[in-house]
């Protein structure tokens, strides 16, 4: 995920954002097949997370590969998004 396909992530997330609020959906991103994320991808996650937080919704990421996990640590994105080891754990922990 870099500047060449970050816009596609944004487009894919957009239709789901309005319903990501109390009484609606939670969004959990399964990152198990993501091998790299650049600043452009992180930026989309930041924008998405800010919108969701403003409507009291919940977004989390799960199942990061070690490199992606370290990119999150270095960029302090572990403070921006809730991070979980597995999708199951993310769903359980973010349940209302």
């Amino acid at each position: 995920m870099d500047h060449s396909n970050a816009a596609a992530l944004q487009a894919a997330l957009e239709p789901h954002l309005p319903d990501c609020k109390p009484g609606g959906y939670r969004i959990v991103l399964d990152l198990s097949r993501l091998s790299y994320i650049s600043s452009a991808g992180l930026r989309i996650l930041m924008i998405t997370s800010r919108q969701i937080k403003s409507q009291q919704g919940v977004i989390a990421v799960a199942a990061m590969q070690p490199v992606v996990r370290e990119i999150f640590d270095i960029s302090k994105f572990t403070l921006v998004l809730k991070c979980f080891d597995t999708v199951g754990e993310a769903l359980a922990q973010t349940a209302p």
Binding site: D2, H3, S4, A6, A7, Y36, S38, S39, A40, L42, R43, M46, I47, R50, V67, E70, I71, I74, S75, K76, F77, L79, V80
Partner: protein
């Protein structure tokens, strides 16, 4: 042909000074680590310091605002920006001056924000008759910016009263000029009131000075242009003032970039050495050391081609290119 890049000032926005309490914290850390060691000679002490103490105990990132000298073996001096680091640069040049012989200085100015010009009133060679000073930049009000900061009531000596032969030279973004043995190409950058980066080329070596520059890598054309500007550079001095999270949230459009974007752009461009520059004045040395180590680690885990060397600028640092 080897060039030497010397950092006279690398702090962003405002000079910072250390103080007694910070100095004592360092001394305590050093003395604690030295307990039970036999450190007889000065050489033994230096070996111990370099091997066993943290970088941020034995070094200070400093100090002065932007001023970077490029020494290429020519007779003229070449430097970027005239921040407060220019004071020491000028003093050193005066001390090295041959009696009865004048010197020529070429300064490439990124922009006219105070931190990039504040050293000029204290640049001693400008007060010596016979010296020639050429100040290059792309802002149409380049001369006015320098003249104004020395006008009353800001400073007692007007620029016109300085004895050296001082001239301002307009350059144009994207148009290379041959100056002091270098081919110099300016590039427009995103910053409040615009700033310009400079790419210096000589004998197959290239150095890019790119400070006070915000990057929006999601903008394809912007990214492509900067990758070209940094292409295969032997050294890129890069504005890494803010954290990535700040540049894409609270400090978006504040005109600065991050270490992470620096690593990405240099990787895409195949640059050889990234030097983090324009340090945030609120960061202590320990925070700057962490930022530097994090950047090295990021490069290591995301590397796909040749390794990119990463350093973090400190006042007095010398880089061989």
């Amino acid at each position: 042909m080897t060039m030497l890049v010397r950092i006279w000032g690398c702090r962003g926005s405002l000079p910072v000074a250390t103080n007694t309490s910070k100095l004592r914290v360092r001394l305590i850390a050093a003395l604690q680590a030295a307990r039970w060691k036999t450190l007889g000679s000065k050489e033994e002490i230096i070996r111990f310091m370099d091997a066993e103490l943290d970088f941020s105990v034995t070094h200070s990132f400093g100090g002065n605002t932007a001023c970077v000298e490029i020494e290429s073996g020519g007779s003229d001096y070449v430097a970027c920006d005239l921040g407060s680091g220019a004071r020491e640069f000028g003093n050193r040049a005066l001390a090295a001056a041959n009696p009865g012989k004048s010197d020529t200085f070429h300064f490439f100015v990124s922009h006219l924000h105070w931190d990039h010009i504040m050293g000029f009133p204290f640049f001693a060679p400008a007060y010596v008759a016979g010296n020639r000073i050429r100040i290059y930049g792309c802002h149409p009000n380049l001369a006015e910016g320098f003249v104004r900061q020395q006008r009353a009531p800001h400073f007692p000596v007007q620029l016109s009263q300085m004895a050296a032969d001082i001239q301002f030279v307009q350059l144009e973004a994207g148009v290379s000029a041959e100056i002091a043995g270098f081919s110099v190409t300016p590039k427009l950058q995103q910053h409040s009131g615009d700033s310009y980066g400079y790419r210096f080329e000589q004998s197959g070596k290239s150095i890019v000075y790119s400070t006070d520059s915000e990057h929006k890598l999601e903008q394809t054309e912007h990214t492509r242009a900067f990758v070209e500007f940094f292409r295969d550079a032997d050294l890129v001095l890069f504005d890494a003032m803010y954290s990535l999270t700040d540049t894409i949230s609270v400090k978006e459009d504040w005109g600065h970039s991050s270490n992470i974007v620096g690593v990405e752009l240099c990787q895409m461009a195949g640059a050889k050495h990234l030097c983090l520059f324009h340090h945030e004045p609120i960061y202590e040395d320990e925070q700057l050391e962490t930022l530097w180590r994090d950047s090295q680690r990021l490069e290591e885990i995301t590397r796909s081609g040749q390794p990119l060397r990463i350093s973090s600028a400190f006042d007095g640092m010398e880089i061989l290119v």
